[in-house]
Every structure is written in structure tokens, then in C-alpha cells.
């Protein structure tokens, strides 16, 4: 009997790649794809790396494939935009060792800035795409993808969505089936050097390959038809298949395991056998448009929402018009949005920036949470590394008027990902943008992956630590400062001074993320308290949004009893279980009510 284990889609992808004899894996962390590389890195005999960005990750994997090794590159949906450049050309070169590209899409934007449907990339790049429905298929499909890649000389895309990546289900451990290709250097310039003359020939190859792939799609066993009640038939793929099965257990279903190229014969055959066809898919009408282009009548997006995730209730309600079965209405309760952690070194910086009343061009990372109340200190956030270019663009549009009014803020990992080129632009094109690099020594948002500035690899091996300060100087920034962000007064002084300077400057705020293991273990943590007698209830300390600072509302009576002024509406306390001792709140209290615990005098 084969061994069954409980795995997430991402863990299953790692296992599938291992069972396929994977040799090289690369990625940039991004929810919901992050755990793929994290899991791959635990297998022996596979080289795994966090790359500075998805484009580099793709290029590394492609290089490995050129050397005859099976390679995998994984990223979240928006990551493929960064890697689109090598993706499109690699469709021309083809591969040697199997090359599998995982794109983890995020319908509903659980943790993303948009919800693009990356099936469109398969179409646009002319690359085949598999779409598993659950962890067990994810493992199987990744293995098949490696075979297909070598057989058809093409990169193969595997698309997951959050509800496949982060769903756990039972998976069978399988046999290890490795490639027949021998790793080694082979010079095949006509295949690998995409000069126009070569590329034109490869384009023809691509078209020939596509004809063969189409035939394959029609014979692919995971494009499968399940006939039941033939009155209604569903064409679906990925997670939507499971919702259809749940909502309409008795209907006939054509499930596409390969969503590109389309299996025309199978679709036509299915259409002949069922009376009415519904196409159920998340996001774009990708399958629907194709089915319609075949001249088959079907219903899809006119019934089923194009935005957000589906679920069995939405699928059922969209088709039958039946409303949800919920018995209880939702009740109004306070929201609980994510928040910067107590002691987070980023918090003070955003407080400083909000006091300076500047436009804050932000970026992707934990610190994006500063956009939420009460800090409300971020005015734009587009994509990885965009903060610097956005700030420069605004400044160029406004000219001298912009001086002192705009800053760009991004994290260490984001800066390395794609902030560096923006900074080069600022220097080269004589901008005066002030860039704050929030260096917390890790890629915190996705779960503390190391990056070139952490001086560690994915396996925890020590590596050369990127010197961000020296890098900025090398780029040509003359004014580079490193400050301790927990020292709010000092940080304020430097930021104020630099935003007024008609030259580019970089302020690196350096303090480790409080969730890093070494920070959690530290023993010398001194905690802060609020001395009740000194608190006037002015609420200034609440503006920083530290979860450890809590407001205690009181009535007039309470106020009298507790010895406060009659009109005082409440007072603040520091929750000792949450305080991390960063000291950022101290300067906020004019009344010196916040002090180190054990220091009742309130002196600092």
C-alpha cells in the first residue's frame, strides 16, 4: 500500500518535484507560493535559493535547464510579471532538463495588490499549463509537468490558487522517476542564442510544438469527463472543479487538468453529450471564451462572478438562483485587521513621517500595514520596488515645489528585489528623492526568509552580507545615513534634514524584526509601563498604534474615585504581556507618564 500523508498544495509540489528528480530550484517569497521553496530546501541533493527577484529566479532555473538538470521556479502571480521577460523567450529556446514554472494566483487578494489570472500568461507566452485541483493532483501534475517539458522541449507552467496552495489534503507518496537527460554543458547556439535569425527559426519550432501539444491535450488522461445526469454539464478546472462537485454531485463534468492548450476534441465531444453547458472558473472567462470560439453555446461569466474567489454556495446560487442557507446574519463586531507587531521597528518611522506631513510613496512588505489606522501613513503602494520611481515621478512632475514634500519608503528585501534600479534612476536623472530603507534584516511579511542583506542562505548557511550603505554610495548617493528607528527624536531630525536637501539621500533605518528568533530569545528586554497618576488621558500615545498600549475608558465617577480630573474620559495602560520594550512610545507622552518598569519617577 502506498503511504498517505497530509500535505498542503505547496508541500505537495515540493514532494512532486523531488520525486521527479529536481536538481535546482529558485524563487522569491510571495504569498501564497512561499512554502514551495521552503519545503524544497529541506530535501537533500537539490540546490535551492531565494533569488533577489523573480526574474533572476527564472533565469537561474532556465540556466540549470540548459545544463540538462531538472529545474523549478516558483512565485506568486504578480511575480510572473517580473519574470515575464525570460518566460516569453524561454518558450522559444525551449529547455534541456525539464523546466517547471509555478505561478500561485490569489483570487480574492488575501495577500496581494491585484488578482490577475495567470492562465493568460500560458496563452500569451504559448506555453502549456496544468492546473491541479488539490494537493494530491498538485504533486502528480508537477511530476507530469517535468516529463512534458522534456518531451516537448518547452517550459511548463503549473497554476495554483490560494485554495490549492494553502489547502491540506491526503497525498500518496510515489516512485522517484528521474530524467533521462544527462547534465553537462552542450553548446547549441541555434537553440539558446535568441538573435533574430535564430529566434525566427525557433518561432517555427514553437508552432510545430504547439500542434503536437494540442494533440497531447486531447489524449491527456487528466482532461477527464465524468458523465452523470446529462441535462447539465460543467466545464471547469482547478479548485472550481471541487466546488462544482460539491454543489452539483449528480451533474456531468469535464474537468480540464491542462488548461492550455485546450483539448478541442474532448470539449466538442462533451458538448454533444450534454444538454446545457456551464463553464465554472475563477476570475477571467479563460475557458469560456475558448468554448464559445468553438461555436459551442455555454453560460459562464454572465452568471458566475468574475471577481474574487468562488465557493460551493456561490456556484450553486449563481446557477440555480437559490440563495445561501445561512441561518444567522452576521453581527456587527469590531474588525480585526492585521497590525504592525508590538515593538516593530517600523512603527516609529511612520509616526515620524506622518508628523512631517509628506506624501509617503510606500511599497510591498509588512510596513504596508502602516497605511491602516491609526498610523494612516502611506499614500501609495503599487508593486515591488515602485516607491522610488513613484516618488521620483511625482517630484519631476512638480519640480522644486516637491522639495521636502515626498519620501519613498521600502524594506531591505524590496530594495534588493527592484528598488536598486529606481535609486540609480534618481541619481542619474538628478532627482532629490529621499529614500528610507527599512532594514529589519529579513523578508518579514512572508515569514522571515533571509535575503542578500541577512547574510544567510535559505538553508541557513552563512553567506556574504550585502552592505546596503556601501551599495547606495556606489550607486552615487552622497548622503547616506544609518539610524536606529527606535530613537524617534534622532530619526525625526535626520529625516527632516534630508527631505529638505535638494539632492538624493538614503536613510537606512536599521533594527531587526522583533519576530526573528534571536530577538525573541533576548534576555535584556526592559519593559515600559504607564504611571497612572501621571496619565492625563490625552491619547497622544495611542497615535502610534502599538497593540500593547490600551485605552481604558472611565466614567466621571470612576475619574473621581481614581483621583483623575473630573472630565478625564479614560487613561492608557501598557499590557505587559505584549510590550516588547522598544521605547518608541516614551517621547510621545508630554507628561512623562511612560517609563521603564521599575522606574516610577518617570525620568528617562
Amino acid at each position: 500500500m502506498s503511504q498517505k500523508i497530509l500535505l498542503s498544495g505547496n508541500e505537495a509540489i515540493a514532494l512532486g518535484a523531488f520525486e521527479a528528480g529536481l536538481r535546482v530550484a529558485s524563487a522569491y517569497p510571495g504569498t501564497p507560493s512561499t512554502e514551495i521553496l521552503e519545503n524544497i530546501s529541506t530535501y537533500e541533493g537539490i540546490y535551492a535559493e531565494w533569488s533577489p527577484n523573480e526574474k533572476v529566479a527564472y533565469e537561474v532555473a532556465l540556466g540549470a535547464s540548459f545544463a540538462g538538470a531538472r529545474a523549478l521556479v516558483s512565485m506568486k502571480h504578480v511575480g510572473l510579471n517580473i519574470a515575464a521577460d525570460p518566460l516569453f523567450t524561454s518558450a522559444y529556446t525551449g529547455v534541456r532538463g525539464g523546466l517547471v514554472v509555478i505561478t500561485a494566483d490569489d483570487p480574492e487578494m488575501h495577500s496581494s495588490q491585484n488578482e490577475q489570472d495567470n492562465r493568460n500568461y500560458a496563452f500569451a507566452a504559448k506555453v502549456p499549463m496544468f492546473e491541479p485541483s488539490d494537493p494530491s493532483e498538485a504533486k502528480e501534475f508537477v511530476k507530469l509537468a517535468f516529463q512534458l517539458s522534456e518531451e516537448f522541449d518547452t517550459p511548463v507552467l503549473v497554476r495554483t490558487t490560494t485554495r490549492v496552495s494553502h489547502v491540506k489534503g491526503l497525498v500518496n507518496k510515489g516512485e522517484i522517476v528521474t530524467s533521462k537527460i544527462k547534465p553537462g554543458i552542450e553548446k547549441i547556439p541555434e537553440k539558446f542564442v535568441m538573435l533574430p535569425a535564430n529566434a525566427r527559426l525557433r518561432r517555427k519550432e514553437l508552432d510545430k510544438r504547439f500542434v503536437r501539444l494540442r494533440e497531447f491535450a486531447d489524449s491527456f488522461e487528466h482532461n477527464k469527463t465524468e458523465y452523470n445526469d446529462k441535462k447539465i454539464g460543467f466545464i471547469t478546472s482547478g479548485i472550481s472543479y471541487l466546488y462544482v462537485k460539491e454543489a452539483f454531485p449528480d451533474a456531468s463534468v469535464l474537468k480540464l487538468g491542462m488548461v492550455y492548450p485546450f483539448p478541442e476534441k474532448i470539449i466538442k465531444e462533451f458538448a454533444k453529450n450534454v444538454e446545457e453547458i456551464f463553464v465554472v472558473e475563477e476570475l477571467d472567462p479563460f475557458i469560456e471564451n475558448y468554448v464559445k470560439a468553438l461555436g459551442i453555446r455555454c453560460k459562464g461569466k454572465e452568471l458566475i462572478p468574475a471577481a474574487g474567489e468562488l465557493n460551493p454556495s456561490i456556484v450553486r446560487a449563481s446557477i440555480t438562483g437559490e440563495k445561501s442557507t445561512a441561518l444567522f446574519e452576521p453581527v456587527k463586531i469590531p474588525n480585526r485587521p492585521p497590525n504592525l507587531c508590538p515593538g516593530c521597528p517600523h512603527r516609529g518611522i511612520f509616526h515620524v513621517l506622518s508628523k512631517l506631513n509628506v506624501f509617503i510613496a510606500g511599497d510591498i512588505g509588512c510596513y504596508t500595514l502602516a497605511a491602516l489606522k491609526p498610523l494612516s501613513a502611506m499614500d501609495s503602494c503599487i508593486c515591488m520596488g515602485a516607491s522610488i520611481g513613484n516618488a521620483l515621478g511625482m517630484e519631476k512632475a512638480l519640480g522644486k515645489d516637491a522639495l521636502g514634500k515626498i519620501v519613498a519608503v521600502l524594506g531591505d528585501s524590496t530594495f534588493i528585489h527592484s528598488g536598486i534600479t529606481g535609486l540609480i534612476d534618481v541619481v542619474y536623472n538628478k532627482g532629490f528623492t529621499t529614500v528610507l530603507i527599512l532594514d529589519n534584516r529579513t523578508t518579514a511579511m512572508t515569514g522571515h526568509q533571509p535575503n542578500p542583506a541577512s547574510g544567510q542562505t535559505v538553508k541557513g548557511d552563512i553567506s556574504t552580507m550585502l552592505d546596503i550603505e556601501a551599495l547606495c554610495r556606489a550607486i552615487g548617493v552622497k548622503n547616506v545615513y544609518t539610524v536606529n528607528p527606535n530613537d524617534i527624536e534622532e530619526t525625526y531630525k535626520i529625516v527632516k534634514q534630508e527631505i529638505e536637501r535638494p539632492e538624493p539621500s538614503v536613510i537606512i533605518t536599521k533594527a531587526p524584526c522583533v519576530l526573528l528568533p534571536e530577538m525573541k530569545k533576548r534576555k535584556d528586554k526592559s519593559l515600559y509601563i504607564i504611571i497612572p497618576e501621571k496619565c492625563t488621558g490625552c491619547r497622544s500615545c495611542l497615535k502610534i498604534g502599538c497593540p500593547a498600549i490600551e485605552w481604558v475608558p472611565i466614567t466621571e465617577e470612576d475619574a473621581k474615585k481614581l483621583g483623575f480630573k473630573e472630565k478625564q474620559k479614560g487613561y492608557s495602560i501598557i499590557n505587559a504581556a505584549l510590550c516588547d520594550g522598544c521605547g518608541q512610545c516614551v517621547t510621545l507622552c508630554k507628561f512623562k507618564a511612560i517609563a521603564l518598569s521599575g522606574d516610577k519617577s518617570g525620568k528617562r
Binding site: 495577500s111 491526503l170 466546488y243 445561501s324 453581527v331 463586531i333 474588525n335 498600549i549
Partner: protein, 201 residues
């Protein structure tokens, strides 16, 4: 119970994912098909966290439909109200009586609702309050809150107690095994006691 829908909800950092993990492993050992869905990323950092778990002979959708939850395991009191539309009259609700203030409450903008347990009772739900924080503290590790709650949940699952103990030993490092097992046992016995009381009344 041959199949079931369980919802785990609470606040990021409370060990919800580990709790749902341990429960899934035990159900798996008991021979069920399982699907469990959770969302990572922004959900951490003190935000609301929810995991859907479904078990049975064959499970398709990883998401639970509104109105079909059999058991809700709320790691925080306020969070027990958030997923009400998923419950029905027969749902059991296990509520950790611990309060964790959302930022809107701690900054004095909104107030933390009172009488949450009564509110749930009034809707006709069977509520099992558990002071998991106190259990964990007395077991010697405040982070064992999640195992106390898994213990409470285990009473209602078609899984032998022993399988849970096996899973805890297999998945927890030696150092913290005992406190977590203790918390599990205490959580379990509290529900058993509450059941007795309910049966008598």
C-alpha cells in the same frame, strides 16, 4: 459522526494552524479523508485567522458552506461571533474565554462587545466556554492554549483519545510534549464535565 465541518477561528499568533494540524493528523489516523483550508500572509500580525476543516469518506470542497459548521472552535471570545453565518442551530461552539483586543478597541475607537456567551446561547447554540489560558498557565506554558482547545474539541470527534496523544508525541519536540499533553487532557476533561452538567439540567 462520519463526516463533519469544523471551523477554527481566532487571532494570528494563537497557534491556530498548529491546532488544526494536530486535529487533521488525528483524523487522518482514524482513516478519514480530510481537506483543510487556511490563508497565510496578511492573516498573521494579530489579524483574524480562520481555518476550515472538513472530514469524511470523500471530501471535495476545502471550504465549508455557510450554515453547515458542526463545531466551531473559537480561540478568542470576540472571534466566536465573526463566523456566525457558518453556524446552524445544531452547531457546537467551543469558546476560549480569553479576550484579545482588536486595535480599534485598544485605541478607544470601538468597544469590545459584552455578554458574548449569552449572545451565542440566545441564538440556541450549544456553547462550551473554556478558560484555555488558565489551563495553559497551570500546565506551565501559556503557549499551550491551542492544545487545551484541541483537547476540548477532541471530545466531539470520532477519534480515539489515544490517537491524539500519538500525534502530539510525533509532532511536538520532547521539551514541550508533556505540558501540551497535560493541557490537552485538561481541556478534554473540562468539556466532559460540562457535558455532564448539560445532560443533568
Amino acid at each position: 459522526m462520519e463526516k463533519g465541518n469544523i471551523i477554527f477561528c481566532g487571532v494570528g499568533g494563537q497557534g491556530i494552524l498548529l491546532a488544526s494540524e494536530i486535529t487533521s493528523f488525528a483524523l487522518m489516523k482514524a482513516g478519514f479523508d480530510i481537506k483543510k483550508s487556511e490563508v497565510h500572509g496578511m492573516a498573521q500580525r494579530g489579524g483574524s485567522v480562520v481555518a476550515h476543516m472538513r472530514f469524511g469518506d470523500k471530501v471535495y470542497s476545502p471550504l465549508i458552506e455557510p450554515g453547515t459548521v458542526d463545531i466551531a472552535l473559537a480561540f478568542e471570545m470576540l472571534e466566536s461571533l465573526r463566523y456566525l453565518p457558518y453556524l446552524n442551530k445544531n452547531s457546537r461552539v467551543i469558546v476560549n474565554t480569553q479576550k484579545i483586543l482588536p486595535s480599534s478597541v485598544s485605541t478607544g475607537i470601538e468597544t469590545y462587545p459584552e455578554n458574548i456567551l449569552e449572545e451565542l446561547n440566545k441564538k440556541g447554540l450549544t456553547v462550551f466556554p473554556v478558560d484555555a489560558f488558565e489551563i495553559a498557565e497551570s500546565a506551565g506554558e501559556i503557549r499551550a492554549v491551542n492544545m487545551a482547545l484541541v483537547g476540548a474539541l477532541s471530545v466531539f470527534l470520532p477519534v480515539e483519545e489515544k490517537l491524539f496523544h500519538d500525534v502530539i508525541s510525533e509532532h511536538m519536540p520532547e521539551k514541550i510534549r508533556k505540558v501540551n499533553t497535560d493541557a490537552f487532557i485538561k481541556g478534554r476533561s473540562i468539556i466532559k464535565k460540562l457535558q455532564e452538567v448539560n445532560n443533568k439540567s
